[in-house]
Point group: C2
Chain length 415, copies 2
């Protein structure tokens, strides 16, 4: 195993206070799947009637648990979530699907539900068989011992080389009561070194129909988790699941069955805020990072074009190493815009660093002073603005720099 990485400079000083989400109980334990001396198995137990929505990796070599979740989402009902770290159960053939099925069946027996109401994720090394028999017998005890307040242990159990647990919470008024939205995530960590994977679980006691839940989750993910990048490598296991227990109905929160309703819009806004917070935490724990970077693209031909330009900049190794070196080398941003394949006109392109114009009208900005920008680049948070001057398309992308520590974390030998 690799040595413990340095803790991210963006790690929060303390974890947020997570209120209970009525209808949700959690538990975690050390099953010894790969790591020693830490929790690596986690369950969330969900009240009957819980609806679920999900956004899953588009990878063509996705993991067995992703395939399992895809099936379960067709019903949109959930009673248990089981997540293990240490092994991704990806590229593990029929044995991998079998391991997912054994896990789901064990959880279903313990909870008294159908296997299709069990959702599963795995994160860790790819291509090694996952022996579900090693931990399936633990699920009964875990499910029975689950507690309403075990948010931090649950968030810790799904970490790989994350350097801090990622938790966020929101309250929103629905009808005559507040509903709670809690979420936690694991980020682009490698385990000595495996595949970076993002897993996000969000829970609410609001009652939301499966189709509305899916619409809200997909819309939110599009502007949050789908706008972050650490190293451009899409995982086989990326999974975002949102569970709604409906327990708040008893307290006077009317069910949300329409995204356009006032309830639906308020809930969507709070959900979006929470997803935004978790997404930024994932970037802020990007492997080896020293700087957090926001890239705002405007004036593109379309929002899609703006996003692709943003990612061309955010994923460029030359741009990312310039950030790491505090180098005000905005020529590399010009290069990345040019390679994106999207419409760009050199003579209309304008670039700002920290709000200061560095390039305008196809040339260095009048009065450009590299010393000012060099000083700005010393900071821990960098904001780049790129305006194409062509249309109204815009997008924001968040990323981090590419440092020696990234190479160290990922070039270490696995065993």
């Amino acid at each position: 195993m690799a040595k413990a990485a340095k803790v991210s400079p963006f790690a929060p000083e303390r974890l947020p206070d997570m209120p209970p989400v009525p209808g949700v109980r959690l538990a975690a334990c050390a099953a010894g799947i790969r790591y020693q001396g830490r929790a690596d198995l986690m369950t969330a137990v969900l009240e009957e009637g819980t609806t679920v929505a999900g956004v899953l990796t588009r990878s063509k070599t996705c993991s067995a648990p992703v395939l399992w979740c895809r099936e379960g989402l067709k019903q949109g009902r959930a009673r248990v979530l089981v997540v293990n770290s240490g092994n991704a159960n990806a590229f593990t053939g029929k044995k991998g699907s079998e391991a997912a099925r054994i896990t789901a069946e064990a959880a279903a027996r313990a909870q008294g539900c159908s296997p299709g109401e069990v959702f599963i994720s795995s994160t860790g090394v790819i291509g090694e068989p996952l022996d579900a028999a090693k931990f399936a017998h633990l699920l009964d005890g875990l499910i029975k011992s689950a507690q309403a307040d075990a948010w931090a242990p649950a968030a810790r159990a799904i970490m790989t080389t994350d350097t801090f647990p990622k938790l966020a919470t929101r309250r929103v008024r629905i009808g005559t009561t507040d509903v709670v939205i809690n979420g936690f995530a694991k980020g682009a960590g490698m385990i000595a070194p495996d595949l970076a994977t993002m897993l996000v679980y969000i829970f609410t006691d609001a009652a939301v129909t499966p189709s509305v839940l899916q619409t809200l989750l997909a819309a939110g993910a599009d502007k949050t988790f789908n706008c972050i990048t650490v190293d451009s490598d899409t995982s086989t296991s990326d999974t975002v699941l949102l569970f709604a227990t409906g327990a708040a109905v008893a307290r006077g929160a009317p069910p949300i069955a329409d995204t356009a309703s006032a309830h639906g819009q308020r809930f969507a806004a709070a959900l979006h805020e929470l997803m935004h917070e978790l997404a930024l935490m994932v970037v802020k724990d990007g492997e080896g990072l020293s700087k957090f970077v926001t890239i705002e693209v405007s004036g593109a031909e379309s929002d899609g074009a703006a996003r692709r330009i943003g990612f061309a900049i955010a994923n460029s190794p030359l741009v990312k190493t310039a950030f790491a070196g505090s180098d005000p080398n905005w020529g590399r941003v010009v290069m990345a815009v040019g390679k994106s394949g999207e419409a760009a006109d050199r003579d209309r392109l304008s670039i700002t660093y920290g709000g200061v114009q560095v390039a305008k009208d196809g040339d260095r900005a009048a009065g450009y002073d590299e010393k000012v920008i060099a000083k700005y680049m010393q900071g821990r948070e960098i904001a780049i603005g790129v305006d194409l001057g062509l249309g109204t398309g815009k997008a924001t992308v968040w990323t981090c720099d590419l440092t020696h520590d990234y190479v160290a974390i990922n070039a270490d030998y696995r065993s």
Copy 2:
């Protein structure tokens, strides 16, 4: 300027003997454009009647010299090539186009030709004005002093952070005589740190019509320079120019006016070999590399799909750092196939390392022994085979690893 990088482990022990190309003379000198104490300006003087073909960057923020060459290629006639290093003359607005025009006019006056017969390249920092007045007055002397044997000085003058000059030569029988094809290239080097740019110049004394020359060059580039990647960052300045002086006609080499003719095919084969050799030299001097990697993709839905899968693997930071760490972590290759967006079926995918099967039928290969692969990964040259099992599409992509030295070279401050 950054400290001199370590010389690539793939640098040749000695440069090849470059025979003259009748109709071509070369010269280089130190103009002090950015570097001190080394040549940074180079010209090739071409006999009347020389035809030219070119392949230029598709970047939407391409440099002023690239725009100038694009115009010149419409005529397909060339008398002078002028290349400077130290400044890319990219994102320099109207002043940049002006600098290109001043350079071309000075060269045209010295040579007694039209500015449209002068081809120009610039490589180095982006976004800084290039003052052509600093070196335009040197062109007359350079052009008059050009020699038939100055290949190595010319190749050195266009280097940025390349650690060795890249030269190759071929002879091919056309009619009753041999014609010569000489070429040189600069690779993915940064100048403390500027933009990686690839420049390639190829010269032959064969007589080739502009349209045939263009067809042969484009076909060759598609299988050579367009199949290499160091860091996925497309330059604003990438330029490949091929000049044919026709001087061999006097010795009995018939003009080549048809790609399907026996002459055309022989010439194309030799040209392709030379381009292949230069392309591999560019990768073998990739910034900070310690390993050279060949990725052969087969069984894809189409050749284009195979190439995109090959590049998804070759450009993945996780795959590249695994190479740097001699890590037999083929799970990252599975991930990269999955993220390419091309059709893939986990259960048909097969992967080899050095010819040894590591993954087959959606699972670890039977008898897989990580020790064997770990030993293979210690080597300096790595060959990965990926078969999708879906169709007949195939492609080969060449790349290098992502090392600490890459980060060091590119995170250093520019000044």
